[in-house]
Amino acid sequence: MQRDVAGECVLVPIRRTLTEANSIYVLNETGAALWNRIDGRRTAQEIITDFCGEYEVAVDQLAKDFTSLLDDLLSIRAVEEMTR
């Protein structure tokens, strides 16, 4: 569940595992902007391309950061990997 708490993007697991019973996850500005682009339709590459078209960022660095974010999101089951 995504919450906006005082301007911060917070992910609160609803169906939590026991180890994350007391956990919330806070996304930084870039993380929140990427999270909001994950729509279940576009690929990671398409999201990166879209993001780079809007912000002045180095593609390589963004791709690395986005992969790391996706790993984190997968680990807390906030997203699921899909095959095409």
Partner: protein
């Protein structure tokens, strides 16, 4: 890009945490209870309906509230308790439930396990049936409370057990603490404060321990002694209720905190946003820091 558990500092005034007394109804009649005076059908009929609670909950979620404590009375004595609880979880609140435990069945424990709370806090007044039920006035409550604790522990639900030290149970407090410690992951909290009843009655105070009894109790346990020293040695900071924390009573009245209900804002007729940001700042509290005197102020002169 993603960290666990770290929010940047909140704005000076932000509705981060809510304690919500969703009912004064209770299946027990604990002798020191401050809400039991409203545990009567006439008063219960005036409590917020399910729809009203869900609407206000949505307003809290919209405002950014993250921590929500559902208390009572006994919150599980509301027939709609799990509607409220599951809605709160689905809104993304970190939900804490204060309960006497005696209404928690195995099926309820399964529902808590399916949608985990932040924690459940249960009042464990004593380790003997006789003392426990002298306090709750509920026959069978001791066994049901211990059974609920087992149901929750079996499902590894985050649990806190707490006692209020009183004349009736002070000889068992250390045994309660040892019992809780034997459970491993469960935390123990000791309360010493008794409050007047919500209708102004002073009945609970007849069970208050003397200063000497409290000192002697704390001296018997290193943890309790440390906590007592910490409390005594530090000047309490000015009260900040209403800045990040607030209270809602069973009738939808928004207040600074559970212990200060002198002024209220009616959430049945007004919005939470207006109540929190416009009404609460005007409410009085004896423990707030005094206002800084304004060095210059606009004055209107009427001839």
């Amino acid at each position: 890009m993603m960290t666990q558990d770290t929010l940047t500092p909140l704005p000076e005034r932000f509705p981060y945490a809510c304690q919500w007394e969703v009912t004064c109804r209770c299946n027990l009649r604990c002798v020191m209870c401050y809400t039991d005076c409203f545990n009567r059908p006439v008063a219960i009929r005036q409590e917020l309906s399910t729809a009203e609670i869900l609407r206000i909950m949505d307003e809290l979620a919209e405002a950014g509230t993250l921590e929500l404590c559902l208390t009572g009375g006994e919150p599980l004595s509301r027939p709609d308790f799990f509607n409220l609880y599951e809605h709160a979880i689905s809104c993304g609140f970190l939900v804490t439930v204060f309960s006497n435990g005696t209404l928690i069945t195995e099926a309820h424990a399964d529902r808590f396990a399916a949608l985990l709370p932040h924690r459940i806090e249960i009042s464990l007044h004593a380790v003997t049936r006789e003392t426990f039920e002298d306090i709750t006035l509920g026959q069978g409550s001791y066994d049901r409370c211990l059974q609920a604790i087992r149901f929750l522990l079996d499902r590894q639900i985050p649990l806190v057990l707490k006692s209020t030290a009183m004349t009736l149970n002070h000889s068992e407090i250390l045994a309660v603490k040892r019992y809780v410690e034997s459970l491993g992951t469960v935390k123990f909290k000791l309360g010493e404060e008794l409050r007047p009843e919500l209708d102004g009655g002073t009945g609970p105070y007849q069970y208050a321990l003397s200063e000497q009894d409290l000192v002697e109790l704390n001296q018997q346990d290193a943890d309790l002694q440390r906590d007592a020293c910490r409390r005594d040695s530090v000047e309490p900071p000015p009260c900040r209720s209403g800045m990040h924390r607030f209270h809602i009573d069973a009738y939808g009245q928004l207040q600074l905190c559970s212990g200060n209900r002198r002024q209220s804002y009616d959430l049945r007729t007004g919005s939470f946003h207006t109540g929190f940001f416009e009404a609460l700042p005007t409410f009085a509290c004896d423990w707030k820091a005094p206002e800084e005197p304004a060095l210059i102020r606009l004055a209107t002169h009427h001839a």
